[in-house]
């Protein structure tokens, strides 16, 4: 119980940071909104989908997933910054559970995602995004997105604890998330890719997430590859499996790494 309270206090710290420096929140919402607008108006016109409602319907789930995937970088660099400033040492010398700090941070980044997704959803709605599946499934899609971001947060924790410098972490995590989000069905059909890449894209967790969200928002997943592979047939199940696998691997790994973070 105490451990949970400790974690929540750490989460509250992150919210306070946002309150003290609101620019952070503003910029972390402007960026995804900018993506929405750019993709919608720059690429949207030249990508034919054959769907009612056009490209923006397919785009929005892609951008939602991309944004939640970037949680990895946010968590990693936030934690790395604490490490370099010696703040982690203070936390570690406190009589609190060793996992409280990392749990608290993943929760905080999750809450930030709630705000960001809400703003993006609104921006999407303004430029023509109209999910047709009803409130329950739409809600479920957002919970799915938050869960995806949360699980990647734990990869971020591990990355943040592993790197020596906050800037390295930032670059490193973009190096992971960028190909991951573009080598997928998020913005264009995978069928246009060379054959070997198609397989990668199909099994990419970002693709299964995007496909799952499209389903939940009431769309056919036209951007999925042609093959009858398991992930393109069962995107929801596959996404869930990915999240569980990520958490099962990275939660214990990160907590262990944190407890032993013998830097310097």
């Amino acid at each position: 119980m105490n451990a949970l309270m400790d974690a929540l206090i750490i989460t509250k710290r992150q919210l306070l940071q946002l309150a003290r420096v609101p620019e952070v929140l503003i910029f972390s919402t402007i960026q995804p909104v900018m993506f929405v607008l750019l993709f919608r108006y720059v690429f949207g016109g030249s990508i034919a989908t054959g769907d009612p409602g056009g490209y923006v319907q397919l785009l929005m789930p892609g951008i939602f997933v991309q944004t939640t995937a970037f949680t990895l970088a946010a968590t990693a660099s936030g934690l790395a910054e604490d490490m370099t400033k010696g703040l982690i040492d203070r936390f570690r010398s406190l009589p609190i559970s060793r996992s409280a700090l990392v749990f608290g941070r993943t929760l905080g980044d999750g809450l930030l995602n709630v705000v960001v997704l809400a703003v993006m959803g609104l921006a999407g709605f303004i430029v023509g995004w109209r999910p047709s599946s009803g409130i329950f499934k739409i809600g479920l899609a957002f919970i799915f997105l938050l869960a995806f971001g949360y699980s990647l947060s734990w990869v971020g924790i591990f990355a943040g604890l592993s790197a020596r410098d906050a800037r390295v972490v930032q670059n490193m995590s973009f190096l992971i998330t960028f190909p991951l989000t573009f080598l997928s069905n998020a913005f264009a059909p995978t069928t246009g890719m060379p054959r070997p890449l198609q397989y990668v894209a199909e099994w990419n967790p970002v693709s299964t997430m995007v496909a799952a969200c499209r389903e939940l928002f009431g769309l056919q997943n036209h951007f999925g590859a042609t093959a009858n592979s398991f992930p393109s047939q069962h995107p929801l199940t596959m996404s869930l499996i990915y999240m569980v696998v990520i958490l099962v691997i990275f939660v214990p790994l990160s907590v262990r790494k944190y407890s032993r973070a013998n830097k310097k």
Binding site: N2, I9, Q17, G86, R90, P95, I96
Partner: protein, 335 residues
């Protein structure tokens, strides 16, 4: 009773390439201040990190407040405060935010955390800046806030790792005042520093550390005596050197030595200021007007230079005075 005991600590980094601590032992009597004095890279921070449970030693043992730091780190954390080399507070938050947060992490409860934060801010003269982000604080204010954060639960044992490194003279003075107040309050303090005057000012006992080993221990006075007592120094014109040397030797009882370049005549004395008066009388009677007269006590800098410069690294010097002897016995009993 000993509040801190460390025995034969060894800690290496990078798979044994760098030996940060090489069989280091120390102990601190409850309610006293021990200063760990040494240059950068001597192993000071490593000692603090081990004693404050942030790091485990490769071998050796340590207790803080009677609790084993390796076996029961979580219990040690309940009775210690730690303030590191870098102000370890959240810079985007205000001073008040930080203290309340740490209070809650010490499980004080919301009301008590707020009360304690207000009290500490007041005590460290930070009330006016309580609602400003730490980013806007001066170096001295940051350190004070960091120290305040380590005092939230009134620790029995406090570790301060180079508390004034990087502060301007005024910031140092303020910090010293704060630390002296704390010590009066009865906390046991282990303080690392590379400033010799800081150890001199704050510590009951000093250990000098170099290359991860204790190379000397004792009180500040004892360490100074180690290098030699006071010296009488007289600077005169070239013409009067010979007769001045005679006068100085007479006062001292030892042969005077001469620094020709500076025309400085000096000799060890034991009579303190009286020696000054005597030598001035003799010079005056001889019609000599000295350019400069001084009674020099060796600084801890001299101590440090002489220790690190001349002492075999594997041999700890134990200072031969009452306190030093006591220490000596302790360390022998342990080893």
């Amino acid at each position: 009773m000993k509040s801190i005991v460390a025995e034969h600590l060894v800690r290496t980094y990078r798979n044994g390439e760098v030996k940060a601590l090489d069989d280091l032992s120390l102990d601190v009597e409850e309610g006293t201040v021990l200063s760990v004095l040494g240059p950068n890279g001597a192993g000071k921070t490593t000692v603090v990190r081990i004693l404050s449970t942030l790091l485990t030693p490769d071998s050796g043992s340590a207790t803080v407040g009677g609790i084993d730091v390796i076996k029961h780190p979580e219990k040690v954390r309940e009775i210690i405060g730690l303030s590191g080399q870098y102000a370890a507070v959240d810079e985007t938050l205000t001073g008040w935010d930080n203290l309340v947060m740490f209070g809650r992490l010490y499980h004080l409860g919301k009301k008590a955390s707020i009360a304690r934060a207000d009290e500490l801010l007041e005590r460290f003269s930070l009330t006016d800046s309580a609602r400003r982000p730490i980013k806007t604080y001066s170096g001295g204010m940051r350190r004070r806030l960091d120290l305040a954060a380590s005092l939230i639960v009134q620790p029995k044992v406090l570790f301060l790792d180079e508390p004034t490194t990087g502060l301007d003279p005024r910031g140092r003075q303020e910090m010293w005042g704060v630390i002296e107040e704390l010590v009066k309050g009865g906390v046991t303090l282990l303080l690392t520093t590379q400033y010799l005057d800081e150890a001199d000012q704050l510590a009951d006992d000093i250990i000098v550390v170099d290359h991860g080993k204790v190379i000397a221990r004792g009180t500040s006075d004892a360490l100074k005596k180690q290098v030699g007592g006071e010296r009488l120094e007289v600077v005169v014109d070239q013409a009067h050197i010979a007769s001045t040397m005679e006068a100085v030797a007479k006062v001292s009882g030892h042969a005077a030595s001469l620094d020709e370049g500076l025309r400085k005549v000096s000799a060890p004395v034991t009579t303190g200021a009286t020696a000054l008066i005597e030598v001035l009388r003799l010079l005056d009677a001889a019609g000599i007007h000295p350019l400069d007269v001084a009674l020099k006590r060796p600084s801890l800098d001299d101590v440090f230079m002489s220790l690190t410069g001349h002492v075999a690294e594997d041999q700890a010097i134990v200072i031969d005075n009452a306190r030093g002897k006591k220490k000596n016995k302790n360390s022998e009993a342990k080893s």
